[in-house]
Symmetry: C2
Subunit: 192 residues, 2 copies
């Protein structure tokens, strides 16, 4: 199978993925925004998320910035900003802010020096916790600790469940297919 | 925030997740099936998937088996088997096959000694490649190399894109909410 087709196929095999925008600011004050589909929940206590980085690909600036400053933001892509979010994956030069290039708005709140995406509804500030090299293919697992969370009103249940569908968060398959979702069934804690 | 509510909330923050059943067979021939929502695409060449394991939680048998035998299968959960798939997350004793307990069928094809789920449509055999400890919270990243893929007819495009929606694969948010998806938009490779 040709390399491009093979890569597209394998990119689909993990199943549906999340779509997140990672916001960072460089030590010299340059903002950066990168689309990532590799978020993985690592644990709730402490609250940790992981992201897979290819050191030589576009989100290199993101990696450099979060390593230098110790902070990044994670912002859920929702259905109204899918095109702008996807456009952040273009290879812009290092001195271009993807915020400006795609028409999204950096916003700063709290202690976090990294920019949030003003247009996003579910947003988190993370502190860089650890970066683990994955020898099998020369990638990196970047781990962040969730320091604060901003959620839209009416999206969090009594039990803590966050209604991502109501917040408009989208799902991604492969490299470029975005999906909205429809609640199918909610199941309880399984007992034998 | 109380621990249970907090854990439920944080489990939602990574965004939509995949729902996969991991099939393994122990060295002594006991089959095991475990629901996992932590699949992450690590790269296409070589074709690698990662899964996050908590060493002391239910999928411990899965971890032991894939380490002992070197193989596991990954099977996409689809909308017709969501309840059975979710039920595999119950804490069954070690001598119980989750296949039998939940009413799914083990199937063996090719060189892979681990059981596939006969009812699933997208299925892969993986060889255990590497296990990486994540010190930040004492979990493990288990990496598998995709050795073979079975896909239903009519689900793979000329360009390699796999239509997960057509295959019925579902998405998961938090610990227990399952979703079907609806194609929103397909975007091309982004250029500046």
């Amino acid at each position: 199978m040709p390399g491009r087709r093979r890569a597209a196929l394998i990119n689909c095999l993990s199943g549906f993925k999340s779509a997140n925008l990672l916001g960072t600011r460089s030590a010299s004050g340059q903002d950066n925004l990168a689309l990532m589909s590799s978020a993985v929940h690592l644990g709730a206590n402490p609250p940790l998320l992981g992201f897979v980085f290819r050191p030589h690909s576009v989100p290199r600036h993101t990696l450099e910035n979060l390593t230098d400053t110790g902070w990044f933001t994670v912002n859920h892509v929702h259905s109204d900003i899918v095109e702008a979010a996807h456009q952040t994956s273009a290879k812009y030069p290092g001195d271009v802010s993807e915020f400006e290039a795609v028409g999204l708005t950096p916003e700063f709140t709290g202690d976090c020096p990294a920019p949030f995406v003003a247009e996003c509804r579910i947003r988190m500030a993370l502190k860089h916790e650890q970066t683990i090299p994955i020898e099998a293919n020369d990638t990196l697992l970047v781990i962040g600790r969730i320091e604060s969370v901003q959620l839209p009103g009416g999206c969090v249940g009594e039990d803590g469940f966050v209604d991502l569908e109501r917040a408009g968060s989208v799902s991604l398959s492969g490299l470029e297919q975005y999906h909205t979702t429809k609640a199918l069934i909610r199941l309880g804690y399984a007992e034998p």
